[in-house]
Structure formats: C-alpha cells, structure tokens
C-alpha cells in the first residue's frame, strides 16, 4: 500500500515537472518567458473577456484602450500606487511580477481588440450625459470630457477610452476621483470630478456606456 502511494506521488511529481504544456498555454504570472497575449487569454480573460470586453461591470473593458494609458495603469498597480479597492483587491497581486515586456504585449493585445458598447441607458440620462461630455458644466468650470478623451471618447495617449465602458465602472471611478486620493496618476481628474454631482456622474456614465465612436 505504502509503495503504491509513494509511486502515485512520484508519478504526480514527474508529470508536474516534466509534462507541462508549453509557455503558449501557461498561467504562470512569474515566468517572464510567457507572452502577454498568452496571459491575456489564459488569465486576464477570466474577468476581462477574451477580447477585452468584460461581462461583469466590476471589471473594466480593456478593448481599444490606448497603449499609453494601459501601461500607466498596470505600472500603477504593480507599484501599488493605484489603491482604489477594486484595484488593489484584484490587480496588485496579478501584476506584481509582470515584466515591462509582458505589459507592452498586453497593452498591444488589448489596443487591437474591437470595443463593444453596452445597451443604451435611460434616454433622459443619456441626453444629459451627452451635454456634459460635449460641453462640460460651464457654471462650475468643469471642462468637457471630449477635450482630453477625444471627440468620441475613444481615448488618446494617457487618457483612457471611456466610450462603451461599463456605466457602473465609470461611476465608481469618478467617485474614487471625487472623494479620494487613491488614484494619484489621475490627479487631473480629482479636480474635474470634485464638483460633479452624483447625478452628473450617473448621466455622463449612462451616455458613455452606450456610446460607440463612429
């Protein structure tokens, strides 16, 4: 009996060390030889979707995000500077051992994916949100989103794509900017979000989630 048990353990150990699949299907986050695309498919897809269009709004859509923005955020997770709860609960650990090359490959993979917008939200909120997106809130000196995020919200350099993003994610992140210092890389947004009312935040998020750049 004992011999059989030892044989089983040895067999498992042998399989474990010798019969692994190639790096093309690895889920090892501490192996620099695994490509970013492999990690995107084997690991990131569990929450963000195979093509970067996540299903659950807890997780942001990554499809079509500008490379520069993606890299800034991943490095902020990796060095523990971005400290919003959803960020550190899910992303600090996953990013801790990724190399710059892997991050570049991940950024490139997601930038090439086609974003898919959500279903249109309540028309009244969408209309009010479009005004904020296009014109800002002049009486409070809040600039329009399009000024930095692009005329259609498709993102630009270090400014993320916000068109088609989950409304719930946008609301939560705008609230993080408005109320906390948990995203130091987005200090610019702290000033902008500071005077947005909860209704403003709901409206602009409702507009953006269903918006698809032409």
């Amino acid at each position: 009996m004992k011999t059989a048990t030892i044989a089983l353990i040895l067999a498992i150990a042998a399989i474990g060390t010798g019969c692994s699949t190639t790096n093309e299907r690895s889920r090892n986050l501490a192996d620099p030889s695994v490509s970013g695309k492999t990690l995107a498919l084997q690991v990131c897809s569990n929450c963000h979707g195979i093509d970067g269009n996540s299903v659950n709004p807890t997780f942001p859509k990554l499809a079509g995000q500008p490379v520069e923005y993606f890299l800034v955020e991943m490095k902020e997770f990796r060095n523990h500077h971005r400290a919003d709860p959803a960020g550190f609960e899910y992303m600090w650990g996953l990013s801790r051992s990724l190399t710059d090359r892997q991050l570049d490959e991940l950024a490139s993979y997601y930038a090439q994916q086609r974003p898919i917008e959500d279903q249109p939200a309540e028309p009244q909120r969408v209309s009010a949100g479009k005004i904020i997106f296009d014109q800002g809130v002049p009486v409070k000196n809040i600039p329009p989103c399009m000024a930095c995020h692009g005329a259609e919200g498709a993102g630009n350099g270090k400014f993320p794509r916000i068109a088609g993003q989950h409304a719930d994610y946008l609301v939560k992140q705008l609230t993080v900017f408005k109320r906390t210092d948990e995203r130091p890389e987005g200090a610019l947004m702290e000033t902008i979000a500071h005077d947005l009312t909860p209704d403003n935040i709901e409206d602009v998020s409702a507009f953006l989630s269903g918006h698809s750049p032409k």
């Binding site: 009996m1 498992i12 150990a13 399989i15 986050l29 195979i50 659950n56 600090w92 650990g93 996953l94």
Partner: protein, 431 residues
C-alpha cells in the same frame, strides 16, 4: 501559553487570527495570485466561488505564481440545542469550544497541476462511553488534485482536465453541489439526523475518485468520474478518518458519477442549471466481501444564481436529489427497495463583503415504508460578519418542523420538533 477557560481560549484564538492577518498572513491561494479573498469567494463568504474562483479551480489551481502552499483554518463555536442530550456535553449545551483546526496544503505545482489537500483535527472526534470525555483526532479531509489545460483563442475556449479527489462532488465548482452547500460552516446543524442520499453524505473521505472534465466556452460543463474504495493507492486520502468510527466503507469495483451543467453570465449576473448522477454498490458489511452489495442510484438536479457587483452580493442555490436504494444484500434492512428525496435551498446576501445574512430550507424524506423514518424539514436563518477577509463570525439558528418523520412527539416520549432547534455561534478563520 496555557489558557484554561474556554471563553478565554476563544478570545485568545481570535486575537491570534487577527494578529496573523495584520502580519499579512493569508491563505495560500491568495498568496499565489496576490489577490484578496473576494476575487474568488462571492462577497468574501468562503467557500462560495465567484465565476473567477470557478475558473481558478477548473484550470487546476494554477493561476499565479508558486508560493508556500500552506494555510491553516480554525473554528470556535458554541452550539445550544434547545433540549440537549446531556451525554453530548459541550457539543450541545452552548459551551464555547475549539471545534476543529485544519491544515491546507494547497497551490500550484506546475503550469498544469495544482491541488487542494485539507487535513483536519477534530477536537471532539470521539467520546469515551464510560467517562464521557471527548478525545481529538486528526484525519484526511477534502482533497482535490488536478491536471488541467486550456485551449483558448478568439473563437473557442475549452478547459479540460483530470481530477483525483476523495469526496463525491467536492470537485464541483458550484455551491449547490452537496459537498459544498448549504451547511458549509463547520459545526452546522445541517439537516439534523436525516438520512441523506449517498451522493450527499456517506462517501466523503471513504473513497478515491478519478474524473475527467471539460468546460466549453464558459457554457457547458461535463464530467465523468469513477469512484472506488479509498484504500491501496488512494489510502493517503482517507488516512485517519475511520479511527474511532468503525471500518471503512467498501465499494464494489469502480462506481460512476456524471455531471452536466449549463452556465451563463450576463452583466453582473451568472447562473447555472445542472444534472448529476451516482451509481454505487456498497458492501453492507465491510468486513465480509463475499456477500452481494447494496445498490444506490442517485440523480440530482441543481441550480445556482449569483449577482456580484460591489457592494452587493446575492446568491441562491437549490439542490434536489432522488435516490433509489436496493438493499437486498443488507439483511438488516426492513425495506430492501427504498427511496430518499432531498431538497435543500439557500439564499444569501452580503453587503460590502462584510455583513451578510442567509436563509436555508431543507426537506429530506424517504418513501412511505422507510424504516426507521428519519425525515426532517426545517429552516436555517443566519447572520454573519467578516471583520477581516479571513475571519467570519456568525450566528445560525436551525428550526425543525419535522423530525424522524413526525411533526410532534418525535421520539415517542413527548419530545417536540422545537426541542431539536439549535443556535450556533461560530468564529471561523483561515490564515
């Protein structure tokens, strides 16, 4: 350090848990992925899995990076049965006791292989019939070792693997599976003394199973597992279990279990509906394998729903199992052909992964000629609080409406169903 009073012992235990947490001592899977418990456990209510937690398990516990694969778990509780049996002592009189402690060896072994092995010390394992004193014992608990691979690209997603485990349905990733729900809190009253279908009880840590499974496009799950007696090559998964509890259950040959599940995610919602079945032959006398066997055929229907969007976590599970028994081999059975039907359901809500409540319903009964009739029915409301992600404090009340197939005079000596009602306070921590 010697602390005599049970309450002081409990407080000391809690303080150790909290101190361990502040030192960032977390279970090994969390160390492996670097993520918080809520990533894998719905609303932080371990062991219930999120969609990501299910993928972590189905891909063989291999996401992340290899770390020290050791974790521990401990449970303190106080259980008060309304009209307690004095012979059961501290298990029923409301005393705060250190109930169980577990060691987990769990984590990634290679890119394709990982495991979960729990070894548990039960502080109240057996009772000396003369002195009434309880003695503790350590034995194998739930174990699941996997090899898994994933073929995934823009057009397909296929996870497939092999699992080696020691408890039917412990390999399942949905909490409606009998091994996981709804009475997962150690020390829970569960369904009382009801005789459950063999799929839900009776074979844990008695058997060894090897199964193959596949999960296609996050939509269809299929599994086929064969169980045999947990001896010989499988004996490491049953060690110490039968120490004070009679001989090991002996199965005849390899016994099949099958499982199908359909799943879907939309927005913050996800749902599963599944079927399962177990066909098993058991020797009525494990010391005499020259006899015919008793034959149990179980078919289960189960479903699960989750809504996961911070700060809300809402989950619901239901499981119905129908068992056909053919006990021709068991000469002691008064009714060779019998059935058992088990219905169990649970709904729970957690706010901010911190404050939660749940309500469970159970109805277990056999065919009319079932003798003895152990049918039970009742409800279990519960409230709980996670002061930290690795500690849960809860209060659970179990109310019986039917005991031993009766709604009154359940022991023939005037005992009412209410007399079996119980209140359980627990502190459950892992680090």
């Amino acid at each position: 350090m010697k602390v005599a009073h049970p309450l002081l012992r409990g407080l000391w235990f809690l303080s150790v848990l909290l101190a361990a947490g502040s030192a960032q001592a977390v279970p090994s899977y969390a160390r492996q992925t670097g993520q918080n418990c809520v990533a894998c456990h719905a609303g932080g209510q371990f062991p219930e899995l999120t969609p990501y937690g299910r993928m972590f398990k189905l891909t063989g516990y291999t996401i992340g990076q290899r770390t020290m694969p050791l974790s521990t778990m401990g449970v303190l509780n106080a259980n008060k049965v309304k009209l307690n049996d004095p012979a059961e002592g501290k298990l029923q009189d409301g005393s705060l006791i250190f109930n169980t402690a577990s060691l987990f060896i769990a984590g990634k072994i290679s890119d394709n292989i990982g495991g979960f092995a729990q070894i548990t010390y039960n502080n109240y394992d057996a009772q000396n019939s003369d002195s009434g004193k309880w003695t503790g014992h350590t034995g194998a608990d739930n174990m699941d070792f996997r090899y898994a691979d994933r073929l995934i690209d823009a057009k397909r997603d296929l996870i497939y693997g092999v699992t080696l485990h020691n408890n039917p349905t412990v390999q399942d990733v949905w909490m409606s599976a009998p091994a996981w729900g709804p009475a997962t809190v150690p020390g829970s009253t569960g369904t009382g003394a009801a005789l459950l279908p063999i799929l839900a009880d009776g074979l844990g840590q008695q058997v060894g199973g090897i199964g193959a499974y596949a999960y296609w496009n996050k939509t269809l799950y299929a599994e086929l597992t064969g169980y045999r007696t947990g001896n010989g090559i499988f004996s490491f998964m049953t060690q110490g279990v039968n120490n004070d509890h009679g001989p090991q259950t002996i199965l005849k040959g390899v016994n099949p279990y099958w499982r199908l599940a359909l799943t879907r995610e939309w927005g913050a919602h996800n749902a599963m509906i599944g079927l399962s079945g177990l066909d098993v032959k058991v020797y009525p006398d494990p010391t005499d394998l020259s006899t015919p066997t008793d034959h149990y055929r179980d078919v289960g229907l189960d479903a699960q729903y989750q809504y996961l969007l911070d700060p809300h976590t809402l989950t619901a599970q239901v499981s119905y199992i129908h068992e056909k028994q053919n006990l021709e081999a068991n000469l002691a059975a008064s009714n060779p052909a019998d059935t058992i039907d088990s219905l169990r359901a649970k709904i729970s809500y957690v706010y901010h992964a911190k404050y939660g409540a749940s309500l469970s319903y159970f109805d277990v009964h056999g065919s009319t000629n079932n003798n003895p009739d152990s049918a039970t029915r009742g409800w279990t409301p519960e409230i709980f609080w996670n002061p930290a992600q690795y500690v849960r404090v809860g209060l659970q009340y179990t109310q019986f409406n039917r005991v031993n197939g009766l709604s009154s005079d359940t022991d023939g000596a005037g005992r009412s169903t209410r007399d079996d009602n119980s209140l359980l306070l627990y502190v459950w921590g892992a680090f």
